[in-house]
């Protein structure tokens, strides 16, 4: 059986660059020097593992996980679901997926958010789950609203859900944002446009998934996530010390 080797090199022309002038905050927060490329060692091919003892079963239901008894969050009820795969299209099972988002009006439950849209008393805006043996995950939530931000005077973020994924190795650690099919703000967003390729932007856009809706209850969007893949070392070049 082939041994597991290094992770495939991250394609830095596919990801956003660090310095992206139109997303203004990146200007003072981007390194000027080149990244130093590291060959993987045990420090990079390992990473934290999580189990069901770490989270609670209701943590993936944002409609109810902060609601008072008998209440629920206000907004368009959606399921966000999909698979976590690697670049070899193999499922990534038992990995932690965490999300956070604004409420239906575009307001975050965060003391730094002073947008005039109100807080929903029954909506917290964060959730987490662990993928099953097929790499599948699902959340229930409300569709977040667009919100204004101080980039240009009239900048509005498209509706989005922030997504954090671990994989099996620290080298796979990823944070991204999930957008929604058909949102007219998508082509105007300086943060989304840090992604250099149109295909990359499409990869961040969840598709309406009528097959997964619950009729008369909840609409669904599908968002698959791809983490870095890994070599099979057929011959030699085994990572030393592992």
């Amino acid at each position: 059986m082939p041994l597991k080797g290094e992770f495939y090199q991250r394609d830095r022309e596919w990801h956003p660059k660090a310095y992206t002038h139109d997303y203004k905050t990146s200007v003072a927060r981007s390194p000027r020097q080149s990244l130093i490329s590291l060959e993987n060692t045990v420090s990079e091919i390992t990473g934290p593992r999580f189990g069901h003892g770490d989270i609670d079963p209701g943590d993936n239901d944002l409609i109810y996980n902060y609601a008072q008894s008998g209440e629920s969050a206000i907004g368009e009820r959606i399921i966000l679901h999909g698979r976590v795969l690697d670049e070899n299209a193999r499922p990534v099972p038992n990995t932690l997926v965490e999300i956070w988002q604004a409420n239906a009006g575009g307001r975050y439950r965060h003391k730094k958010d002073t947008y005039l849209a109100p807080i929903d008393p029954n909506f917290g805006g964060c959730g987490r789950t662990i993928t099953d043996e097929n790499g599948y995950y699902f959340f229930r939530t409300v569709k977040p609203g667009a919100y204004p931000w101080r980039n240009w005077v009239n900048s509005w973020r498209p509706a989005h859900i922030h997504v954090s994924i671990f994989g099996t190795a620290f080298a796979q650690r990823l944070i991204t944002q999930c957008y929604f099919e058909g949102d007219p703000l998508i082509p105007h967003c300086p943060i989304l446009k840090t992604v250099p390729m149109q295909e990359g932007i499409e990869q961040l856009t969840a598709a309406l998934d009528l097959n997964a809706t619950i009729p008369l209850d909840t609409i669904a969007y599908k968002f698959d996530i791809v983490l870095r893949g890994r070599r099979s070392t057929l011959f030699e070049n085994r990572l030393e010390g592992n």
Partner: protein, 204 residues
């Protein structure tokens, strides 16, 4: 035309944005939702080795502390073993080796308590000096930044990663300074995102 390779592309990264805390550290941000918040206890009560505190600032290109950053740490135990099936050896019961902290919203100071890691195997039979792997995300950072923290009171002279940095004067940006405060060992590690004294960041 040739055959298609049929690899998938990695999902592109996006910034964690200004409100990363409500998603990944709600308790630390003063928002009570989960019974158990992840990442507060890196080493656990049973871990052997020297108990240390690590703290510092993340500083932007204008010299200002970044007050909305989130850091994650990944480290081996005092014997140089990671809590992962691909690391040879055993870790103490309760040793996770992973932690997550946010900065103080007013000062930008961050810190975590852990044990000092031991040396871990490098490639080709080498040994890596003790280090903690760090990952930094924040508003304005499009792809999480990877760096490493080394210790000034360890022998770092043979570390293959430090020695792989061509500019010798940049290696010191990865070395934490040891101090003692009220009988506690504290390592200071400021991270400069840009400009003079810019911290070395890695593409791992």
């Amino acid at each position: 035309m040739v055959q298609k390779l049929d690899y998938l592309k990695e999902t592109p990264s996006q910034t964690a944005g200004p409100y990363v805390h409500i998603g990944l550290a709600p308790g630390a941000a003063g928002f009570d939702i989960y019974k158990q918040e992840l990442g507060w206890d890196i080493a656990g009560p049973n871990a052997a080795g020297e108990r240390i505190r690590v703290q510092g600032l993340v500083i932007d290109g204008m010299g200002a502390p970044v007050k909305d950053v989130l850091l994650e740490a990944w480290q081996a135990n005092a014997s140089g073993v990671y809590a992962h099936e691909e690391s040879t050896g055993e870790v103490e019961d309760g040793f996770r080796g992973w932690g997550r902290v946010i900065t103080d919203f007013d000062t930008g100071e961050w810190g975590f308590d852990t044990v000092k890691p031991g040396p871990v195997p490098g490639r080709y039979g080498s040994t890596q000096a003790p280090h903690i792997n760090l990952w930094i995300v924040a508003r304005g950072i499009n792809v999480g930044l990877n760096t490493r923290l080394y210790f000034e009171d360890e022998d770092n002279s043979a570390d293959p990663v430090l020695n792989g940095i061509e500019w010798v004067n940049r290696r010191s940006t990865l070395i934490a300074k040891r101090t003692e405060r009220e009988g506690k060992v504290v390592y200071r590690f400021d991270i400069r995102l840009q400009g003079e004294g810019e911290t070395v960041f890695f593409d791992i």
